[in-house]
Symmetry: D2
Amino acid sequence: MTDRGQESAGIVTSNGASPPTYTTLKGMGLVNSAFQPEDLLKLRHGNLGIGHTRYSTTGISELQNCQPFVVDTLHGKIAVAHNGELVNAASLRKKVMRHGVGLSTSSDSELITQLLALTPPMEEKDTPDWVARIKNLMSETPTSYSLLVMYTDVIYAVRDPYGNRPLSIGRLVPISKLHTAGAGDGDTEGWVVSSESCSFQSIGARYYREVEPGEIVQISKHGVKTLSVVPRPEGDLPAFCIFEYVYFARPDSIFEGKMVYSVRQRCGRQLAVEAPTDADVVSTVPESATPAALGYAQQAGLPYVEVLCKNRYVGRTFIQPNTRLRQLGVAKKFGALTDNFAGKRVVLIDDSIVRGNTISPIIKLLKEAGATEVHIRVASPPIRFPCYMGINIPTKEELIANKPEFQDIAGYIGASSVRYLSVEGLVAAVQGGILTEKDQRIDSNRKPSWRVGHCTACLTGKYPVELEW
Amino acid sequence: MTDRGQESAGIVTSNGASPPTYTTLKGMGLVNSAFQPEDLLKLRHGNLGIGHTRYSTTGISELQNCQPFVVDTLHGKIAVAHNGELVNAASLRKKVMRHGVGLSTSSDSELITQLLALTPPMEEKDTPDWVARIKNLMSETPTSYSLLVMYTDVIYAVRDPYGNRPLSIGRLVPISKLHTAGAGDGDTEGWVVSSESCSFQSIGARYYREVEPGEIVQISKHGVKTLSVVPRPEGDLPAFCIFEYVYFARPDSIFEGKMVYSVRQRCGRQLAVEAPTDADVVSTVPESATPAALGYAQQAGLPYVEVLCKNRYVGRTFIQPNTRLRQLGVAKKFGALTDNFAGKRVVLIDDSIVRGNTISPIIKLLKEAGATEVHIRVASPPIRFPCYMGINIPTKEELIANKPEFQDIAGYIGASSVRYLSVEGLVAAVQGGILTEKDQRIDSNRKPSWRVGHCTACLTGKYPVELEW
Amino acid sequence: MTDRGQESAGIVTSNGASPPTYTTLKGMGLVNSAFQPEDLLKLRHGNLGIGHTRYSTTGISELQNCQPFVVDTLHGKIAVAHNGELVNAASLRKKVMRHGVGLSTSSDSELITQLLALTPPMEEKDTPDWVARIKNLMSETPTSYSLLVMYTDVIYAVRDPYGNRPLSIGRLVPISKLHTAGAGDGDTEGWVVSSESCSFQSIGARYYREVEPGEIVQISKHGVKTLSVVPRPEGDLPAFCIFEYVYFARPDSIFEGKMVYSVRQRCGRQLAVEAPTDADVVSTVPESATPAALGYAQQAGLPYVEVLCKNRYVGRTFIQPNTRLRQLGVAKKFGALTDNFAGKRVVLIDDSIVRGNTISPIIKLLKEAGATEVHIRVASPPIRFPCYMGINIPTKEELIANKPEFQDIAGYIGASSVRYLSVEGLVAAVQGGILTEKDQRIDSNRKPSWRVGHCTACLTGKYPVELEW
Amino acid sequence: MTDRGQESAGIVTSNGASPPTYTTLKGMGLVNSAFQPEDLLKLRHGNLGIGHTRYSTTGISELQNCQPFVVDTLHGKIAVAHNGELVNAASLRKKVMRHGVGLSTSSDSELITQLLALTPPMEEKDTPDWVARIKNLMSETPTSYSLLVMYTDVIYAVRDPYGNRPLSIGRLVPISKLHTAGAGDGDTEGWVVSSESCSFQSIGARYYREVEPGEIVQISKHGVKTLSVVPRPEGDLPAFCIFEYVYFARPDSIFEGKMVYSVRQRCGRQLAVEAPTDADVVSTVPESATPAALGYAQQAGLPYVEVLCKNRYVGRTFIQPNTRLRQLGVAKKFGALTDNFAGKRVVLIDDSIVRGNTISPIIKLLKEAGATEVHIRVASPPIRFPCYMGINIPTKEELIANKPEFQDIAGYIGASSVRYLSVEGLVAAVQGGILTEKDQRIDSNRKPSWRVGHCTACLTGKYPVELEW
């Protein structure tokens, strides 16, 4: 489970015994810096566990908000990791506090944990019915959450009925069956759950399937088992976050049977159809817009070239001691590959324009280095509305599409022209996913068993459920 | 408020507004390393606050257990700092969990916080009666706790009815009235509460008085006010921890009207009466046994000399890479001041012998450097029983007084003789405190307004309340 | 000046006064981590300075070897930064030691500094003739060195007569004339010297020209002035390191009038001519082989696709706590973009194969993800010989081209076929550089004024000068 | 060898082979923080080595100046550690630079190393006569230096003819013969050399003897051997730094047969004779003045009490974020032990008053806490002159004895009276050392074999040699 964040990271493992021993690691920053190798050794004796990397949406950035949350209940300890943001968090907080519970953080994850603990009956002799408690929780809040709940020797993987946040299951393959690995005896078999399927390959697991919207999956030593699929209100489609395709997910992840890279490439093609350009070369703002740029070039029949190379060593966090360097700004992060575009008309593909302060100096850089025209084509529609379901989008006021300058955006950023992909074009590119015929092995896993639908609230203002203010 | 620990430190300040903004800082280690100066600046806008330095008794050592605990309740946020250990923590945990509260740490402080939050009534429109909630908490648990509870613009300082853990009030003096300070405009007035009065001088405050056993004191911009004094069961005396005098507190702190240094000096005198020695010089294991050694020397009419100097730079945490250095052990932490004792019979005063592995090499060092006899006199009775009220004493098995070797402790540690202070002698030394006649300024503050009594459980096994197993 | 290394970094500035004050900063690691912003402020009062980032070739990795070297001489302090490796370092060390000088490091830079200090005459009243001393140094050692020597208010930039190591001059442009920069008053003008011209853009400078092989350039407030051009032995061509083009330099740098990116692209084209493949798609091992892959695809008329995406967060330094993860090896650094190649024959371009332990798991990864064939095309000839002139190439024994496995390299690494670029092909690609006609501004600067020639010793074993053993 | 500093630390070991391998460790800060345990393991293969901890006198504080200095000479590598400051360093620097040597640091130690390397003859085939080179060095500079020179498998320990800086030899005792050590096989025998004998005990060595002024001692696997004793100019006495006794050395060190603690105690007695006081109690500014205070109390027949306890946790480096705390200043570093002195007249012994800004707030603190009079007695004469021989004394202007306020120092610092020990009194206390009769074991080692004499330049302005300006 992961928010795919860089703010903090946490892992809790269970040894599966009765009563279980849980081992918890938490730290600030990326996983690599949050944990020391000697810390990780402490986790060795667990054979199941859940982890989380936090990317702050609500809640102040501090270790206290770091997930997974572990609480001791009348029936023993549970650990909970959560990706998403509850649309009715405020009224749920009131509810648990009215019951006399003090909440020590502002995070939805603690709230979820206390809601699970709170559910009656509360007699020690009773067996805890965690599935009933999870269903009860799901009846209290419609979206958005993908959850992992660990109890003793079982992990429950849960996706909200709207399927707003992703959640995939992978299967750990014994090393001996992986051609990519060296010889060895690390022959673990097992199951893994992750927000993004791209993480499976890194640990020698293979994509198995997605958790279905509303599904409660039980993972234990007996394997993977669907316990329930909680329905949506009649007539509602799922509302998987379309921004995952556009920007957030890694290109090698698979959602709804489609590889993100391919969706982005189709966005580029669609953009070439919607917004053709009279130009000499097509290029990309490295690296996230590259699939769309290749798609655009292919569809438009124009050569694809590289115009910028990244200056690896200019860190984002380097405090500029010098006015001159500060003024140079973004230009110093990229080198111009002059020979590829000097004297030419360039179509430059970007994946989105959020605040506009990155693309403008890049355009100037290209013009200074000899580009005769620089046309910006954006492989997504303009973002106009805030997200209340877990994506940290700037406020409405900060979004460039809501500023007066947007009326003449080309003039504002110094481009020869600017065009965006339409919302319809994006949805078409997302849904047009067909499988490569020859990819037999993963074919059957990839077809979604449910009717897909997407949340485009940040683009259209149409939220999948009514918001609580 | 402080556990006087080095494990972790926390501070929460409130701006006193309605609703208040609380600012929280927490970090591992000593205050100096736990906080950065830039962090402390964040606290500037508060005009009241509570802090805590943790010394682990129960609860695993981690940031999560770091106090103060802040929770959001139906009536707003409260912050709680706690020193002590609840004797009936286990049954209280069961109680709150039965109500459906998940506990995220093993600390008593979270437990206390949730108990305060839990107390009915639970309607949002109600005014929260925190004093009633504190009294309710006090009716649930007899000891041991000194508490600070902050709510918006008030701090409640609470000491359990047995007064087991210390708690003192000091008054911040304007800089202009302090001769010890440089000129300046830092003219803050106000009140401070601390486990030990020694901390007052460091911040320019003066000792005001102790919180009485069972007392609930309200501190606000209107000053210090006693709200209630919760009584003990009839016939029970207070049970202030006698180990604070012997070992734990700083010598310049004042408890029950007595300066700790003077109590220790009297322990030395009493020891000279109980266990006289035919010797040439009296000395100390630096630095904590020095007052007792000076008292012994004075009472015995023997010269006081220094026999050891500390090697400041041999850190406790230095990992020895070398067998030889490891074998040299404690000897390398001290230099022998040979000229002061070579050829002489030495009485060496120590404040306590917990495990015996420090005193033994010191005796050998002195003998190797020329002492003809080394008599150990311990200025406290042997510790034989565990503490369940907040002092981290080794297990019964580890305590040297419970080992077979204790029968011939002199032989075991290589001393010419070993004698301990009696329990009666210790109690007499503690209670025999009289004020220096000429010290007029602080006289009236110092006299305790209650009949004193002490917990000697670690020495006698007689616990002040029945323990819950 | 830079070794372009990540091992250590140093900067020395001079205030240009008489006598001058030099300020020195040195630290381990990348520039960003080696220096703190507050350190950099110390350098503000200098108006000239030299810096160095070290990449270890000879000399143990430690701060002591960190350049620039500053020494106090009879005539004041000089600071020296050096890129390269003296082919006759051993006999030069003997020479200075025979004169009675102790050498405190194993670095060539200290050796150069002491050689400059040593040159007679040695009377304090004399004016130091640094140019004569530099010429004297150049008469003692043929190659390889690019040098910066700072004395009071002058910097001498020197390139050895073979021009083995690069050295370029750039001109700082006032901010007001840079379209890429924000408005501001950072209107510094001046000159900068760097191993690679790519660094100029980052600081708002423009490429001016290269230092010619054998040239001594003086840089002062009076501008840039050629003082001398020391000739090579008759008949010898320059011997600029061809490996800079293949691998070492950043693609946006310019050497001998050619942009490195374009040279690499031509290598790809040349490779398509020399080693055509019957395949479906062309791709790259990201990111350094991308220009060659695009060139290959273009020349071969095959579609260029991406097959791998980098897993940004798998750091090189992460210590693997787990056998399984260690066995997964390089596979976890890349995600497979399955849809782009499943069921297809892939030509994968790499820039060089040094040890062979990276490419092999990548091939397996692609095959496992569905590639039917994976043909490796290497855009440079096999490396067979060690470099004694400043490039840290593995020992002869470690180079894959010298191992028995090289006879069946395709089988060894699991490829469908493997082909390398020929040495002749590489030289042709390097020399075939023509300027883009439309790039008028920088045209005249780019044409080299000397007859070019290249060192291909690592490929052919033909060293430009006789080596001293 | 040690400067006994906290600024930086270095160690060089030799494996003693031919040619030897030297291993070097250097780091900033105290030994504990400068080196990591894993670093120290690198040193294991050496069986001889020299180390140094730097305390800055001349030379900027940076790693480059960190000793020992290792240089490669025509005859192999030597390593040099140096304590002291050459009085004619400036003209010696000129001399080596005139020979063509560049000096990379401002430290005397590099200068000494280059002087040793420089000495002719310089033919590789010659055997290096290091003793002749050391004698040659000693003919060039009279003082002050204690030196360790390591070459292959020999260490030369050298003390300048005036014996200004201390240097002692100790003998490593097998663990099995040390009662203070646990059982073990760390049975190293060998020799150690140190500035202060106090360090011997920490590593299980015993004091053997001092290096005599002018002596060159050879230490090798064959033992300790005097090679030469270089004489002083006729009529000159040795000039051992008297400040070592007063302030600098650890109390358990032995110089000229006298334990430093005993000298300080005699200073206190002498002070009681010279400056008697009508008072009730005698006390100390902890901890360095304690021996003098005990001596004063004994001689004066007054009770010795403690009046201050140190606040361990107020670090020197804690940056005060708050005006109030900054104004509180030194008062927060000490707790007042009120009961011991309230209503009494206190004689407070300090070891020296350098700038006066520590003692003044302490006096105010005592008065505020109830002392009726506070008389300051300083156990050394006022410091009036700078030291040019290795002790970092403030400039003449900064020394309180040279300020106008010194005329009424008692008024200035707020004391009831102030008296200093006389220079004659100090010299008498230093020279009056007699051995404790019963201490038979170390008796013979302690008697100095030379006529002693002391440098009192900082007190009298009489320097042992003419200074070079």
